[in-house]
């Protein structure tokens, strides 16, 4: 279980809450739970913009009842016995003859005023790292610390308190905007951000490449975005359901042999790793693709009830006001046999280290991946920089183009996913990928 030193929900009367929830689950197969969360965000400003430090603290609860494909959810912006009882009544399909007494729900106070001294040092450190690389340019850096505590209580069980803690960074430059998620603000992260900014700087005047079909080598960060869109989103149970039964995807070849893609929240970087999902159910090491074949799509409790072949444990919600949905947390791609030289070998093409964003049409399977810049590959060597371009194709075709997998998976490609209006942080550990016959177009 991932817990912080100060667990805000430890004083809750969990058995009394479970008894109160049991009033909702009046029919066989009913599912009732209480979701509790506390979140804190502290944002240090980019230079030259008021206001200064921005802080936000939230807490609240949501009571949910699921019955035969129907869900009712009532959410409140505070955690009190009265609001819990109110929410309980709002989702109840039939009011009980005699209600249980309100449970004890006194939470510990927030610790002091919001403060994150580590944020202030990050921007100067990145500028220092850039100067060490002999460059200096205007870059407005803003850093946010995200903290979240959550717990789910059901009628017969209760998860431990999960704690998430990470940072996000956005940089505005005259030639573009860069954003990333970071597990910490150590020296390695300073170096990572500075290197990315340097790449943007070097590519600021580069012309887009001409339309080409051929070799494309995606660095770990770009590969992570590709696989998030083309594998994770494509294998979410709610996405699969748009085209029929989600379970029908099991056993279908989606990628090239040798491509192993997993979703494993328990192996995410420290501060983000999870033991349970946002429904309080245990997460698992889920093989989305094994050797290119679909093994286990992403599912939550609701979808696993409708298809017994689907395993729950991948439920996520951006906050209490949203019902859970099946989503990826931490995508993992197993390393392959190719070293850097082998990845680039055999002709000309493009090396694309960063992807700005990706877009998947869930029905047609059409896929677009946008790159802010790249480098030409000439005779197996990295050559000059090119400007923005995009990769197009259908999911199945694109994944079959993966003809080589790099040896060393890296934590890379973290970002915000905004599917369906829910903003969720997503993480990945991937190696580089070699695509052949990829269609690249200028932007």
């Amino acid at each position: 279980m991932t817990q912080s030193a100060a667990v805000p929900f430890e004083t809750l009367d969990t058995p009394a809450i479970a008894r109160a929830l049991s009033q909702l689950a009046e029919k066989p197969g009913d599912w009732a739970d209480l979701f509790l969360e506390r979140t804190e965000e502290i944002r240090s400003p980019a230079e030259g913009k008021p206001p200064g430090v921005q802080t936000r603290r939230e807490e609240g609860l949501a009571v949910r009842l699921v019955r035969a494909g129907e869900s009712w959810l009532a959410a409140r912006d505070a955690i009190t016995p009265k609001l819990f009882s109110e929410a309980l009544r709002q989702v109840a399909r039939a009011l009980p003859a005699a209600a249980y007494p309100e449970p004890r729900m006194a939470l510990g106070p927030w610790p002091g005023s919001p403060d994150a001294p580590e944020l202030a040092a990050f921007s100067p450190e990145v500028h220092r790292a850039l100067r060490e690389k002999h460059v200096a340019f205007p870059a407005k850096i803003s850093v946010t610390r995200h903290s979240r505590w959550l717990q789910v209580i059901g009628t017969r069980w209760s998860s431990g308190t999960e704690y998430e803690h990470f940072y996000s960074c956005t940089v505005e430059m005259p030639w573009g905007r860069f954003g990333t998620l970071l597990p910490s603000l150590e020296e390695a992260e300073v170096e990572t951000v500075a290197s990315h900014l340097l790449d943007y700087f070097r590519a600021r005047q580069a012309l887009p490449p001409e339309p080409v079909t051929g070799l494309a080598v995606l660095g770990p960060a770009a590969a992570a975005v590709l696989l998030h869109e083309a594998v994770a989103h494509a294998l979410e149970a709610d996405t699969l359901a748009l085209g029929g039964s989600p379970a029908a995807a099991l056993g279908v070849r989606l990628g090239a042999p040798g491509l192993h893609v997993l979703d494993d929240p328990s192996s995410a970087p420290a501060g983000i790793k999870r033991v349970t999902d946002d429904e309080g159910l245990a997460v698992c090491r889920r093989w989305l693709l094994r050797d290119g074949i679909v093994e286990q799509p992403l599912a939550d409790m609701v979808w696993s009830q409708s298809s017994p072949e689907l395993l729950p444990g991948a439920a996520r919600r951006s906050n209490r006001h949203w019902p859970p949905a099946p989503r990826s947390s931490h995508l993992e791609v197993l390393g392959g046999p190719l070293d850097q030289e082998q990845l680039l070998a055999g002709g000309d093409g493009l090396f694309l280290s960063q992807a700005e964003r990706g877009r998947l049409d869930s029905l047609s399977g059409e896929f677009h991946l946008f790159f802010p810049f790249g480098r030409r590959i000439r005779s197996g060597e990295l050559a000059e920089t090119v400007g923005p371009c995009r990769l197009e194709g259908r999911v199945g075709n694109l994944l079959e183009m993966i003809r080589g997998i790099g040896q060393q998976p890296q934590v890379a490609g973290a970002g915000w996913c905004a599917k369906g209006g829910q903003k969720l942080p997503v993480w990945a550990t991937t190696p580089s990928l070699r695509l052949e016959e990829a269609r690249l177009l200028p932007c």
Partner: protein, 444 residues
């Protein structure tokens, strides 16, 4: 300031009072914002049905001393004894009260939120009507949000406002019959959910599905274009840099003709935060500054950009509240509220269509617009019908409307009376409009 001083909740006013007293008035600028809301979200997707009942309560405090400022927000009721972060960044300035006409809370704000069964019936009604229009078509997903809220804003310069808001939004995704059938999406907003008409919405989805199924691209063609409100609204939204913000003056100058005119006689652009019946109608903006109508372009002549009180040039006295605040979590940001092309009340759309000798009636957009400002070009993927002698002759899709940005502005020949708004960054509205000087080209 508003003529009658509204009642502000004690914790809100006490928080302001306490903050202004800290360290003998260290904070020269203090603002307390509080919002209370109720919302329902009802959705259906395949066999799944979901109903969410949310009650939200949050607050935000902005304060500034001589060296820096902070923004602090939280859920629940604001606490006058709250612990505040240190200041950082740059100092902050807040607006002062200005006089404005009285505003009456519209009667339909009192209407109850749509119930769960009523909302599910609306979604089922849309699906049923869609199937009547196109047998085999499906409503893949439908989500209705219906909410009401109350906002209080008080600041150390004397602003005291309290007002209610009401908004409903509907998101629909539909699929035509057959294996390779296209998909049509729709996202619309109204003040009250009961204004959504299942039949009209289903017909709009069906029209779009039919055009996408049967339409063919046009390699390259010119003519007159009758642009329906969804197409015009998307164009106006893409043209926002021309109407909003300090940079718009230079941009407008770049696109004026030799006589100094930005557009044709039919081009009158307004923004009005208190537009009667508007989905975002309110007496004040997210900083408590009174809203009012602003004419940005008057019959083709650029009058002024939409600027917040902070952005107006020194000496300019009159301004409108246009700082929008999506929620208590967000910092106010200048932007349009109800920005629209002025309609012609006497002109029906059928009249515009009948007068189209040779051209296209473009119903909807099929993707995002690309506006190349330095190159004075735009591209917008569209679908609709070819028109001959006022009659639709063949469906068109897989094409984009393109041309010079200045030609678009100068080429608006006539506008209809069917003003309707779409939710973008604020509500952007337009009637149907006849535009010449543009091209239709096949998507590459």
């Amino acid at each position: 300031m508003l003529k009658s001083q509204p009642q502000i909740d004690a914790p809100v006013s006490e928080t302001l009072e306490n903050l202004t007293k800290i360290e003998d008035g260290r904070f020269q600028e203090v603002e307390v914002f509080a919002k209370l809301g109720r919302a329902r979200r009802v959705s259906r997707s395949g066999l799944n049905r979901t109903a969410v009942y949310s009650q939200e309560q949050g607050w935000a405090v902005r304060a500034s001393d001589s060296r820096g400022s902070f923004f602090c927000a939280g859920t629940g009721q604001v606490s006058p004894q709250g612990s505040w972060p240190g200041t950082d960044g740059l100092p902050l300035k807040l607006p002062s009260p200005i006089t404005s006409p009285a505003w009456q809370t519209p009667a339909d704000f009192e209407a109850p939120l749509m119930g769960e069964r009523e909302a599910q019936s609306l979604l089922e009604g849309i699906e049923r009507a869609l199937r009547n229009e196109i047998p085999g078509a499906q409503l893949l997903q439908g989500t209705l949000d219906d909410g009401t809220s109350e906002t209080q804003i008080i600041n150390s310069r004397g602003i005291r406002v309290r007002y209610r808001s009401r908004l409903a939004a509907l998101h629909l995704e539909s699929l035509g019959p057959g294996a390779e059938s296209p998909r049509a999406d729709m996202y619309i907003a109204e003040r009250e959910a009961r204004h959504f008409s299942p039949l009209a919405l289903a017909r709009r989805l069906a029209d779009r599905l039919l055009v996408l199924t049967k339409g063919t691209p046009r390699q390259r063609d010119r003519g007159e274009f009758l642009l329906a409100p969804p197409v015009m609204a998307r164009l106006l939204e893409s043209l926002l840099p021309l109407w909003v913000g300090p940079g718009s003056l230079d941009l407008a100058q770049d696109h004026q003709d030799s006589r100094g005119r930005l557009g044709s006689e039919a081009l009158t652009i307004l923004d009005n935060g208190r537009l009667m019946g508007g989905a975002l109608e309110a007496p004040a903006d997210g900083e408590g500054v009174p809203t009012r109508e602003m004419i940005l372009v008057d019959r083709g002549s650029f009058r002024q950009p939409l600027l917040s009180w902070q952005q107006i040039p020194a000496g300019q006295k009159r301004y409108a509240g246009c700082s929008r605040r999506a929620s208590w979590r967000d910092i106010p940001k200048a932007g349009p509220t109800h920005l629209y092309l002025k309609p012609s009340p006497a002109v029906a759309v059928t009249e515009l269509l009948e007068n189209l000798a040779r051209g296209y009636y473009l119903l909807d957009t099929t993707g995002a617009a690309v506006f190349d400002w330095p190159g004075n070009r735009f591209y917008l993927p569209v679908c609709g019908f070819e028109v001959r002698q006022g009659r639709a002759s063949a469906p068109v899709s897989g094409s984009h409307l393109c041309g010079a940005i200045s030609a678009l502005l100068q080429g608006i020949q006539a506008v209809g009376r069917d003003l309707s708004f779409l939710p973008f960054s604020g509500m952007i509205g337009s009637p149907s409009a006849v535009v010449s000087g543009l091209e239709l080209r096949a998507l590459s």
